[in-house]
Chain length 357, copies 2
């Protein structure tokens, strides 16, 4: 979707992937190769003005050794910090940003002590945990021992005090290398089975919470010196406190609704930020919108039937062209724009459920 | 832009072109070949569910001989009628649609007599005239003689009474093969040097004129049995009369602003109509918008600088990726959305002028 946005600005795009992704990527200029190979990286990057990533795990920072002149955005330091949940927490603490109480536990005993202190805690792998993988909720020594054996790396793991949040929010920011930034309105996000299910905007928080969430997101990107778009996922507590859950230094699922609902999509602003172009208006151009993910329900070749989904008023259907469907695989999303969030939400659920794959 | 819209719906697209178009077409699956060759057409179309055209001059109707099962949309009859201005006028007359007085002149004498009757007339080639090419404004026998020698084909040429219009309008309709259709709000269009310069919406006509324009457009597509989107260009006279100028049976420059200003773009509705999917909402999602074309000013390799254009509030810049620039070549367009048409128009002019190529 970033490539589509860049193409609209007349910017030639090339893509490097380490394997066939299974998406019907409609772009020419796709290279499938071992992206850890310095020769592959150097040859691929030759002639690029700027390079960005679709995932913080793409080894783009290896480019610096072989193509030192390329503008890598986000930069290597941002990627390095974000990939490790301990380094993330340390960076946020140094910047005085609000986050859950936590301990970087180097030993099992430190983890036990932290869980005893927090009562309920979430133990997380420093690297590679996402969507509920690599996490364990612990309340006792026995829980900790099992989780430690499962999750701890050489440098230990992260122990976070469990946050009994009232809501989850996500704020996306587009930020240029010179620090100029625009912030999108907060989105209310809802997870099911540890995966994003729906995102709704306006989020319906108090003005104070909305402003705090935006401020925290801007400060988070500044702390990481992130370039491009990044999304800060936040816990909102019953008292309106805002705590950083985690950060994705790239276009994010919670901001897919910006394609249909905002003046400038996250993808266009990512392209603009990466290229050092002026950033576009991040405001809503409709009263309300809701995005619901379209997940696979079965195993087999995809044969989409959009007839019922497209009949839902205000529905915009986005499929990613994946040739095969698997249970829980993200196959696309639906955004519905409407006069109010309740209507948008109801219609988005109906439209997403009506997509047959 | 149609291919981008189809890709978003997860629809695999392939493209056949008869030559390198000079656009940085970012799609894979582009075949450059002699599209009048039946073998080329047959092989290319194998496996396609539906075929559409970007230009009414693409010889897609030749497909019917070699791939009779393909859904060609618009169909061969629509293309055949639209390609010949005489057949167009005859079809509109048979359907009782409002159009300028005209004569299909088979001989020079018939053309002279028509010009004498109309006072001022425009002589047009039946085939291939566009953007001021193949046309001549005539007031005298001498004018007619020169124009006849220049323009007349074996079956003569079209003589139209000159319409002293107050405004030009364009109405785009998306229509499915079963006749279901949605109509976009009328756009006020403005030409310079016989080429589209700007399109603005809402058009600001009286309610009666707006409704008449939409009705005429819907009836025009029905008369042509057109499938997909088509744009009807209209003259609006000082008395509010609406007369059909001409028809383009495909996505049209006057409706490019639907990408940024309407709930469903003309390109997505073209894809939906061609594929027999439900049509999307053709209404505005912003109060006002204006599109201004970006034309080349010089000869050479294009090296776009969008910095100033992207700073204009509400500006969305679309470049077509053409590698070389020539004076008057359409290189892209800018759409500005705003709270009112005057602001949109002013900013769109400024943004288009600020695109440096």
């Amino acid at each position: 979707m970033t490539a589509l946005a860049a193409a609209r600005l007349g910017v030639p795009v090339r893509v490097l992937a380490d394997r066939e992704t299974g998406t019907g990527l409609p772009f020419s200029g796709v290279t499938i190769a071992d992206w850890e190979d310095p020769v592959v990286l150097r040859d691929w990057a030759a002639g690029c003005d700027a390079v960005t990533v679709e995932s913080e795990w793409a080894p783009a920072d290896r480019l610096l050794a072989v193509a030192p002149d390329v503008r890598l955005r986000p930069g290597a330091a941002t990627l390095t910090t974000v990939r490790h949940k301990g380094r993330q927490r340390r960076a946020f603490a140094e910047a005085g940003l609000p986050q859950p109480e936590h301990v970087l536990a180097a030993t099992r005993d430190e983890a036990r002590a932290a869980v005893e202190r927090f009562g309920t805690a979430v133990l997380k792998q420093f690297e590679g945990s996402y969507d509920g993988y690599g996490n364990a909720t612990c309340r006792s020594e026995r829980d900790v021992d099992a989780a430690w054996d499962d999750l701890a790396a050489e440098d230990g793991l992260l122990v976070e005090s469990f946050v009994a949040f009232e809501a989850e929010a996500a704020v996306t920011v587009a930020r240029r290398a010179d620090g100029e930034a625009v912030v999108y309105p907060a989105v209310r996000s809802e997870h099911r089975d540890h995966r994003l299910h729906a995102a709704t905007v306006p989020a319906g928080f108090s003005d104070a919470t909305e402003q705090t969430a935006r401020r925290v997101a801007l400060d988070t990107l500044a702390a990481l010196d992130a370039t491009g778009v990044a999304t800060v996922e936040l816990f909102v507590t019953g008292t309106g406190e805002v705590l950083i859950n985690e950060v994705a230094p790239r276009p994010h699922n919670t901001a897919h609704l910006t394609i249909d609902a905002h003046h400038t999509s996250q993808f266009e602003n990512h392209a603009r930020a990466v290229l050092g172009l002026p950033l576009g208006d991040s405001g809503l151009r409709v009263p309300a919108a809701c995005m619901v993910n379209v997940l696979g329900q079965r195993e087999g070749a995809a044969s989409p039937d959009l007839d019922d989904a497209l009949r839902v008023p205000g529905a915009s259907v986005h499929l990613y062209g994946k040739a095969t469907v698997r249970p829980q695989r993200k196959m696309g999303h639906v955004t519905v724009t409407a006069a109010d969030v309740d209507t948008a939400r109801e219609r988005a659920e109906a439209a997403a459920a009506a997509v047959r794959l």
